[in-house]
């Protein structure tokens, strides 16, 4: 024996390749040949491996140890994170196959050792190993590359591709076609109409006489029709009398999707576009409809036009499909949750409006409350109903009985219809059909007082569900009064916050999940992660506690965090990390549920680690570490006595 073969690659390379797809499918001798071509390089943390649009890709990088992030940097140098990759993941396949320059910036986030497979060898495998190209082509269609691709389109292509994409990528400022047409408020209606005809526009902005910069209102075709022609108003009256004021504005750097959400939630069609405190133009719902073809806005309008409750059932079934498309197009989880809430709210509003017509008007004003995740606007595809009714205190016993009789029917029918619309019943019975959750304002106030005074488990649980209430439909003043009451009792005693904080801090951070996973590779350990309870709830609880403490009215977790940062209760840095961590987990959850629905399963929150890519695991681990820091904040505010 003359010692080992000189040309044999070290075992470690073949072992590594034998563990990762698609290399592990190669015949052993091919694998060894490939191993022999490999090089190893080391990139300290912070090394830029590839530069989008500049770097030629000479190797397929296979990460032996360490991690990289890929991102897109726009012209202003703002980074948008696209992906994390870790051990066993690859970089550069897409570029090599397409013969293109790198499409993303790639930088190491840890000290990283990579195996490098020369481009020519990789292309040879792609050509000669059928399973090989399939593997890469398949993974290209998966979500990460899909989002990378949509970003790519946004950056590289003109306005010709997939239209829905533009909602997320095009900024409002980009679709403003012309400077705003304006007229002084003291001009007559006739002059305004003549100006609109001259410029062929459907709206005019109204400025203070003598100061063109000071925009005070807007007048549209619709205003002329409804407020002038229909009622025979004198054309010589000043335009001030018929304008809508103030003008709803949107920042020019907002995405069109943001503008759409605003139009949908405020039921308006025109938005003035603001850039550096100056109105630079007006966009209309029509401009946006042109961009997106049909999708969300059309569904929204269709719901609003429905004349029968039964007609709402099939429409609401369309929501998951639409959300699915939004996810596939790369919408952010925060946006998606808002869109789901807007559409669900629209269904609810239409349903209750029609129901009122059917049952006759209610004896007193009421407000349909949404609580729990619906109250926070954090539903996913199919979330259980969480609702309640609060109505005005009846003046006497007769009216009280009338109310009871009316709202019992009203609630029962509403809940039945909601079920038919695809919103399952709440297993915990937190619904307006439950007499406990269908009460006049004074009773609700007593509930809240009691829950803040008695820190027993049930009260604490109710607090976490009901304190996140918001108006679903009906008289908002009732909900406002209840919110006011909650702030007052909290101001008097913060004791209940201490209990909420203790409960929040008692939650174990699921970092061991990763340890288990790493140790138990054979999948025998069926340790699943409940991403809602273990991952998202800590953020929700944290935000709720601080929102209550500081009398912040928002119920949405991201919105609460934003206010907390704005008020400098939370550091800017921690706020950003918390937002990233929270959105990332929502995204994982949405994609998980989307996959389940595609497979015909009932969506849930149980994530099997085996389904996660290395990137997801890494990002989840980082997200969980943020929880620890949030707990640290709580500890300083509520020290353990």
């Amino acid at each position: 024996m003359k010692g080992n073969e000189r040309a044999a690659a070290p075992e470690i390379v073949a072992e590594f390749l034998g563990r990762i797809m698609p290399f592990k499918e190669l015949p052993l001798d091919t694998l060894r040949q490939v191993a022999r071509q490999m090089k190893v390089d080391f990139f300290p943390k912070g090394t830029r491996l590839l530069q989008a649009g500049k770097s030629e890709i000479h190797y397929l990088y296979l990460i032996q140890q360490g991690g990289v992030k890929s991102f897109i940097m726009d012209d202003e140098g703002v980074e948008t994170l696209k992906d994390f990759r870790g051990e066993g993941d690859y970089i550069g396949a897409l570029g090599i196959i397409r013969g293109a320059l790198a499409n993303l910036d790639v930088e190491t986030v840890e000290d990283t050792f990579c195996f490098l497979l020369p481009k020519a060898v990789f292309l040879d495998l792609i050509r000669n190993q059928p399973g090989f190209s399939q593997y890469y082509l398949k993974s290209f269609s998966e979500k990460v590359v899909a989002t990378a691709y949509s970003e790519l389109r946004r950056h590289r292509m003109g306005r010709s591709g997939d239209s829905n994409l533009y909602l997320f990528s095009i900024q409002v400022g980009d679709i403003v076609r012309q400077a705003p047409r304006t007229i002084a408020a003291d001009a007559s209606i006739r002059e305004a109409a003549a100006k609109m005809a001259e410029f062929r526009v459907a709206s005019l902005l109204i400025h203070e006489p003598g100061d063109e910069e000071q925009i005070i209102g807007i007048v549209t075709d619709r205003d002329l029709r409804n407020k002038v022609l229909a009622i025979g108003r004198d054309y010589n009256e000043s335009i001030r009398a018929v304008m809508s004021s103030p003008v709803a504005t949107v920042l020019s750097e907002s995405t069109c999707f943001d503008a759409l959400l605003k139009m949908m939630s405020d039921s308006i069609h025109h938005l003035a576009v603001e850039r550096k405190d100056k109105i630079v133009g007006v966009i209309t719902s029509h401009d946006i409809a042109l961009l997106q073809g049909h999708a969300p806005y059309a569904l929204f309008k269709e719901i609003g036009r429905q004349q029968s409750i039964e007609g709402l059932h099939p429409l609401s079934q369309k929501i998951p499909e639409m959300i699915r498309n939004l996810i596939k197009e790369g919408a952010r989880a925060g946006h998606i949750a808002r869109m789901i809430a807007i559409l669900n709210d629209q269904i609810l509003a239409r349903l209750l409006t029609l129901l009122e017509v059917e049952l006759g008007p209610p004896p007193v004003d009421y407000c349909w409350l949404l609580v729990g995740s619906e109250g926070r606007r954090e539903q996913t595809f199919r979330t259980d109903q969480d609702n309640a009714i609060i109505y005005e205190d009846p003046t006497d016993e007769t009216q009280a009985q009338e109310c009871e009789a009316y709202f019992v029917r009203f609630a029962q029918q509403a809940i039945d219809h909601l079920v038919q619309c695809g919103y399952p019943l709440c297993p915990g019975g937190i619904m307006a059909v439950n007499p406990k959750w269908r009460q006049p304002l004074s009773v609700w106030k007593d509930y809240f007082t009691h829950w803040t005074a008695v820190p027993e488990p049930e009260e604490v649980l109710n607090a976490t569900i009901f304190f996140d209430f918001r108006v679903g439909f009906g008289k908002a003043a009732l909900a406002d009064a209840l919110r006011q009451h909650l702030h007052e009792v909290t101001r008097k005693s913060e004791l209940h916050l201490l209990h909420l904080a203790r409960q929040c801090m008692a939650a174990r951070i699921p970092l061991s999940f990763f340890k288990n996973f790493i140790v138990e590779k054979d999948g025998e350990h069926k340790n699943k992660l409940d991403i809602k309870v273990q991952g998202l709830t800590p953020f929700v609880n944290f935000s709720r506690i601080l929102a209550l403490k500081h009398c912040i009215r928002e119920t949405n977790t991201l919105a609460r965090l934003q206010v907390l940062a704005k008020e400098q209760i939370l550091s800017e840095e921690l706020w950003k990390e918390a937002v990233d961590a929270y959105e990332m987990q929502m995204q994982v959850r949405l994609v998980h549920q989307l996959n389940q629905m595609d497979a015909g399963e009932q969506p849930d929150n149980h994530i099997d680690p085996a389904d996660l890519s290395e990137l997801d695991r890494r990002m989840l681990r980082d997200a969980f570490e943020v929880i620890e820091r949030l707990h640290g904040v709580l500890k300083t505010i509520f020290p353990a006595s």
Partner: protein, 237 residues
Amino acid sequence: MFAFLKKLLPQRSVHPVLLANRRRFAEFDQAKLLTEYCFVVLDTELTGLGYRDEIISIGAVKISNMQVEMGTVFHRLVRPLNLSPNQATFIHHITPEQLRTAAPIEEVLPDFIEFCGDALLVGHFLEIDMGYINRAAKRVLGGTLANPTIDTLRLVKAYKETSYVCDYGYCDQSFPCNLDELVTEFKLPRFKPHDALEDALQTAYLFLFMAKKLNGGQVKTLRQLHQVGQPLLLRQS
């Protein structure tokens, strides 16, 4: 002692492989970029650390363009002159039977020198390896290797002195120098210890890590590397 000198005498004429080796390094420019040099990272397994101990295995891997070429490796067993069954070769997972059938150093060494070509030699505690290699080279080839050498141990020392200043303002001088401990400390991918090739690869990883981390990644040329870890290069003999 006399027998040893007698053995040395017939080898007075220098083996051609060594002559070629010397010519390669007659002029050596340190100013070039690290990526323009070749390095051979090596490790030897010995029968022990005494004067009479011998090399029983050489493992090496080539680095060019500052990338480890996993397909360009050297791994050979060497039959020692004194093959004692009691020797502690057990730790190397090399059996006496394997050694009995291995080639003698006279055959392995020229192959190894050829493998090294114009590369600089890199190793951890390299002086020990080079001591045994050069002793054997003198005996069987009539001279020593001219390749400049770099000891990763010195790089590690320089790295710690420049980057690990503790709270008290001075650095901890008592650092672990064992390869295994360093791998743990710097969290490098781990190879199987006590195998010449695996240890050479392990050292190659350590070398890349050091070369790219020293001086905040600002070490670009061989001379800079030299200056960071003074004195890096052994005398050329």
